[in-house]
Amino acid sequence: MDSKPAQQLPSPPAKMPRRTYNIAMVSDFFFPQPGGVESHIYQLATKLVDRGHKVIIITHAYEDRKGIRWLTNGIKVFHVPFAVIYRSATFPTVFSFFPLFRNIILRERIEIVHGHASLSSLCQEAILHARTMGLRTVFTDHSLVGFADAASILTNKLLKFTLSDVDHVICVSHTCKENTVLRAALDPLMVSVIPNALVSANFKPLPRPEPGSLPFTQHPLPAHPLGPSDTLTIVVVSRLFYNKGTDLLTAAIPRILENHPNTRFVIAGSGPKAIDLEQMIEQNVLQDKVEMLGSIRHEKVRDVMVRGHIYLHPSLTEAFGTVIVEAASCGLYVVCTAVGGIPEVLPSHMTVFAKPEENDLVAATGRAIGALRANKVRTEKFHEQVKTMYSWTNVAKRTERVYRGIFGDISDDEFYGYDVGNEAHWSATRGRNFALIDRLKRYYGCGVWAGKLFCLCVVIDYLIFVLCEWIWPRKQIDFARDWPRKPPASDDDE
C-alpha cells in the first residue's frame, strides 16, 4: 500500500540513492540442469546482486538438490518439491504452489516476481499468485512459438492467461517480441527487448602466436594469415535435432567438402539426427575430413570453437542464438541461416547469412571460405568487438530499468515514452492496478470460454489467498535474514 502513493510522485532527483528491490526469479529451468535459460537466470541474478538488489531464485527440486541452497554472490535458491513431468517442467497444478510460494515471498520480503521461459508452469503459476498477492511481475520469454499446430495453440492460450495480468514482459530479440505480442495479445510498449549476453572472458580466442616465437607449428593455428593450402576448419556446435537444421548440414557437408578440398569439419553435439550425419560420412567416405565429437559440456565449447575458422549454424528457428555470439567472440567467422532473431544478433562483417536452403548454405559457406582465404576478414578483432556489444552487466542495467519502470520509480512518460493525451487509455493498457475487478476484466478478454475459465481460476486463487492469510497470518511469518547487500550501483558505471 505504501508504495502506491510513492509511485505517483515525480521521479526522485538523481542525487538520492537509488532504490533497490527484492527480486524473486522463478523458473522450472535452473542449475544443476545445463541450458541457455538456466545460465541466463544465473548471470542476470549475479549482476543484479552486484547492483545492490536482493535476488532469490525459485525452482523445482532436482534429484540431488532439495531445499535451500546458496550460490556465489549470495543468491538464495529455493528448490521446491514438485513433480517433474516432461523435460524438467513441473506438472501444472494451478493452485497447489500458492501456500509455499506465499511463505517464501513473505519471508524474503519480495517485491518483484520475475518469471522465465514460457514452457515453465512454475513460472506461470508464480506470476498469477504474485499478482493476487499484489506484487509487481515481469516475464522473460526465451523462445519462439508458431501458431499452427495444436501444441502451440495450447501453449499460447496458457501464455495469454498468464500474461493477461503482468506488469512487463522482456523478450530476447525483436522477432521474439513480435511473436510474444501476437501470442499473448500484449501492448507492444509493455514488452522490452533485452538480449542475452555472454561472459566474454570464457570465450576468448587462442592467443596469437608471436611471429618469432614459433619456429614451426605442429598444427596450423587458427590465426591469420591463412595460406591457400592451409587447412580450414569449420566448426558446428549444436544439438542434432531437426529444428537445428541438421538435415541441411547433412546435405551441405559433402558438397562443401567437394568444392573446397582443404576443409575439415568438427561437429560437436548429439541428438537423433546424429545417425544421419554418420551415414552421410560413411556413404561419402569422409571419415578423415569430418570429425564428430559427440555431446560436450558447455565449458568445453570454447575449446572446440577455437579449433576452427568458421562457425556454421544451420538452425531453422532461433529466438536469439547465443551460440553464434560465442563463436564470434572466439574469433570465428559465422555462417548462419537468416531465421528468427539471428539477423539481429551480429553485425554483417562477422556473419554470412544464408537462406535455409541447401544450395544457399553451400554458396554462403563458399563465400565465407573465400573471404577468409583472401584474408579479408579481421577475425582477430571480433573478440573485443563482441565484448563491447554484449555483457551481462548491461543486461542487468536494462532489466533494472524495467523494474524501476513498473515500480514507478522512473516516470511513466520516460518509461513508456508515451505522450500522455488520454488517461483512460493509458490506464487500460499499462496501469496495472491490483483491484480484483480490473484483473478479472483483463482475464475475461482472453476468449469466449477461456475468459470465463480464467476468471474462475483468478477468483479461486484470491480465495486461497484469503484462506492462507487466515490460517497462516503474515504477522506470524518471520523475515529471513538477508545476505549483506552491496552498495547500489550508480547509473554511470558501465
Binding site: A148, I153, K157, T337, V345, A424, H425, G431, G447
Partner: protein, 530 residues
C-alpha cells in the same frame, strides 16, 4: 472508456495501417492507433485456431457479443470516478480486514494527471532531442531508444496472413468428398454382410464368392490399366529424357535427385487435392519422388529379371507392377496369384483359431469394439493418397481387419469365419487400391463406383432392417433404403461442402519470421520426416 469504444475498433489491412503510421511518424501510439493494435493482437488470439482451419475472420465484427472485451476495452472505470474504486477488492483486503474493503482510493487521479501532464511536456522535448538517430532492428547496436520502444514502421512488417490460402470451390469439393463417401459405403456394406451372415439370411459362401469374383474382375481391370499406363510412361520418359538430360548432367553422382517420371495424378484430375499438392510442393515432390523411385526400381528389375518378386509375396498384392516388359508382367501376375493362394490357405488354417480367439469376450464388448475400430478405419483412412502409395494408412486397414477378427468370433462355424475374414481383406485391403486406380484412371469409373456403392449400402441396410418374412426378401424396404441413402449422400456431400466453404472465411493463419523455416534440400534422401 466511452470515447474508446465509440471509435471504430477495426482491424484494417496491414498496408493501410502502415500508410497511416507513416503519416504520424513521431507519435508512438496516438490513441486510435493503439486501440487498433490492441484489437489486432487480441484478434490474433482467435486466430490460434487457424491450424485447424478455424479461426476468426480478419475484420472484427463489432456487433459480436464478446467484442468489447479486448484489452483496450477492459480499462478500469474508476479513473474518472474515484468513488467507484472504494468498493473494489484488492490484495491488501485479504489481510487488512479492519476497514472493508478499502480505506481509500489508491490514486488521486487529478494529481496524477497534472503531474503527468507536466512531465509529458518536459519529456517530449527531451525525447525529441535524444531521438535523432534512426531506430534499427538490431540487438548489437547500442541504441538511444528505450528497450520497449516500438518502431511504427518496422514492427510486425513481416507478418503474413493466410499466405497459402486456397479458396475452395463448390463442385470440386463435392467431387473430392466422394472419396469419403466410398469408404463409408464400403464399411456399411461390410457390416451389412456380417449381419446377413450372423442372422443366417445370407450364405457366407455366396458373400465370399461374389466378393472374390468382384476382386478377380477388379484385378484384371487394374492389371490392364497398369499395363496401359506403363506403356504411356515409357513413351513419356523417352520424350522427357531428352529435355532433362541437360539438367541432370552436373548431378550425376546423385541418382535420387533425378525425377524421371512426372507425377501422374497432378495432371489428370483438376481437383482441390491436386491443388493442395501444388500448394504444398514438398508433398508433391515426395510423391513424385516415390514414383521416380519405383521407376528407378523398374529400371533395375529390367536388368536383373524380377527375381525379387518371388520373395515378398504378400505385399505384392498392393504393389503396382513396375516393369513394362511382357515377361516381367507375367512374372508379377504369377506372383500375385501365388500370394493370393497363400493368403487363402493361411486364412483357412487360421479360421478355427480366429473363431475362438475372442469368444470369451461378451457380445456387448465386441459390438462396441468393432464400432470403434470401424470408426477408426473411416477417420484414419488415407483419402488423399495417390496411386503410388505403397501401404496407405496402415492404422486404418489394421483397425478394419481387427474389427473383422473380433466380429468373426461371434459366428458359429469355421466356414463363416473364413468367409468373413477373407471378405474383409477384399473390402479393406484390396478394394481401396482398386478404387484409387479407378479414380486416377477416369472420372467416369469413379462416379460409377460411388453410385453403385451408395445403392449397395442403402439397399443392404434397407434389406437388413426390413426383416425377413417367410423366405421372401423385403424388396420394398430395400428400395426405400436405396432412396434414403441417395438422398442422404447428396445432402451430406453438398451440405458439408457448403459448410466448409462457409467456414473458410474464418481461416486466419499467421506466419512470420518466428516460424520454423522449411529447409529446401535437393537430395531428398536425408529428409524423411517432417
Amino acid at each position: 472508456m466511452s470515447s474508446l469504444t465509440s471509435q471504430s475498433l477495426k482491424v484494417i489491412p496491414i498496408a493501410a495501417r502502415k500508410a497511416e503510421r507513416t503519416q504520424q511518424p513521431n507519435r508512438w501510439y496516438p490513441d486510435g492507433q493503439a486501440s487498433r493494435v490492441c484489437a489486432m493482437t487480441s484478434n490474433s488470439d482467435h486466430g490460434l485456431g487457424l491450424g485447424l482451419g478455424l479461426g476468426l475472420e480478419l475484420e472484427l465484427d463489432l456487433d459480436a457479443p464478446h467484442r468489447g472485451l479486448t484489452r483496450s476495452a477492459t480499462l478500469p472505470l474508476e479513473i474518472h470516478s474515484p468513488r467507484v474504486g472504494r468498493s473494489h477488492l484488492a490484495p491488501e483486503d485479504a489481510f487488512n480486514t479492519a476497514s472493508p474493503p478499502r480505506r481509500k482510493s489508491t490514486f488521486d487521479p487529478s494529481a496524477v494527471n497534472d503531474s503527468r501532464r507536466m512531465r509529458s511536456k518536459l519529456g517530449s522535448r527531451s525525447r525529441s532531442r535524444r531521438r535523432r538517430r534512426n531506430w534499427k532492428k538490431l540487438l548489437w547496436v547500442n541504441q538511444s531508444y528505450p528497450d520497449n520502444y516500438t518502431d511504427q514502421a518496422t514492427f510486425l512488417e513481416n507478418l503474413q496472413r493466410n499466405p497459402r490460402l486456397q479458396p475452395y470451390e463448390f463442385w470440386p469439393l463435392v467431387a473430392d468428398s466422394t472419396v469419403i463417401l466410398q469408404q463409408t459405403c464400403s464399411v456399411t456394406i461390410f457390416v451389412v454382410c456380417f449381419v446377413g451372415i450372423f442372422q443366417e439370411r445370407v450364405s457366407p459362401v455366396a458373400v465370399v464368392g461374389w466378393g472374390s469374383f468382384g476382386t478377380l474382375v477388379g484385378w484384371l481391370l487394374w492389371d490392364w490399366w497398369v499395363g496401359q499406363e506403363d506403356e504411356d510412361e515409357v513413351l513419356q520418359r523417352r520424350h522427357s529424357n531428352r529435355s532433362r538430360a541437360a539438367r541432370e548432367q552436373p548431378r550425376k553422382d546423385r541418382p535420387h535427385s533425378a525425377i524421371l517420371g512426372t507425377n501422374p495424378s497432378a495432371g489428370t484430375s483438376v481437383t482441390n487435392l491436386a491443388a493442395a499438392e501444388r500448394a504444398y510442393p514438398q508433398l508433391a515432390m515426395r510423391q513424385s519422388h516415390s514414383v521416380s523411385a519405383t521407376s528407378l526400381q523398374s529400371g533395375a528389375s529390367q536388368a536383373s529379371t524380377a527375381a525379387r518378386n518371388s520373395s515378398d509375396s504378400a505385399e505384392e498384392l498392393h504393389q503396382r507392377p513396375s516393369s513394362p516388359h511382357r515377361g516381367g508382367r507375367m512374372n508379377l501376375r504369377l506372383g500375385t496369384i501365388k500370394s493370393a493362394v497363400l493368403i487363402y490357405f493361411t486364412l483357412l488354417g487360421l479360421s478355427p483359431i480366429l473363431k475362438s480367439l475372442t469368444r470369451s469376450t461378451s457380445s456387448d464388448s465386441i459390438w462396441a469394439m468393432s464400432f470403434w475400430l470401424l470408426a477408426i478405419n473411416i477417420f484414419f483412412y488415407d483419402y488423399s493418397g495417390g496411386v503410388g502409395v505403397k501401404f496407405p494408412a496402415s492404422l486404418s486397414t489394421n483397425a478394419a481387419l481387427m474389427a473383422s477378427t473380433v466380429l468373426a468370433s461371434r459366428l458359429p462355424s469355421t466356414g463363416q469365419v473364413f468367409s468373413l475374414t477373407l471378405f474383409s481383406i477384399e473390402v479393406f485391403g484390396l478394394f481401396p487400391v482398386f478404387r484409387r486406380y479407378a479414380r486416377h484412371q477416369s472420372w467416369k469409373y469413379h462416379v460409377t463406383i460411388s453410385t453403385l456403392l451408395v445403392i449397395g449400402a442403402g439397399g443392404g441396410v434397407g434389406l437388413i432392417l426390413g426383416g425377413e418374412k417367410d423366405g421372401v426378401w423385403p424388396w420394398k424396404s430395400g428400395l426405400l433404403g436405396v432412396l434414403v441413402a441417395v438422398v442422404i449422400a447428396i445432402v451430406a456431400m453438398g451440405g458439408c461442402s457448403w459448410w466448409l466453404i462457409g467456414l473458410q472465411k474464418y481461416k486466419n493463419a499467421i506466419n512470420g519470421p518466428w516460424d520454423q523455416a522449411r529447409p529446401i534440400i535437393i537430395s531428398r534422401r536425408f529428409w524423411d520426416d517432417e
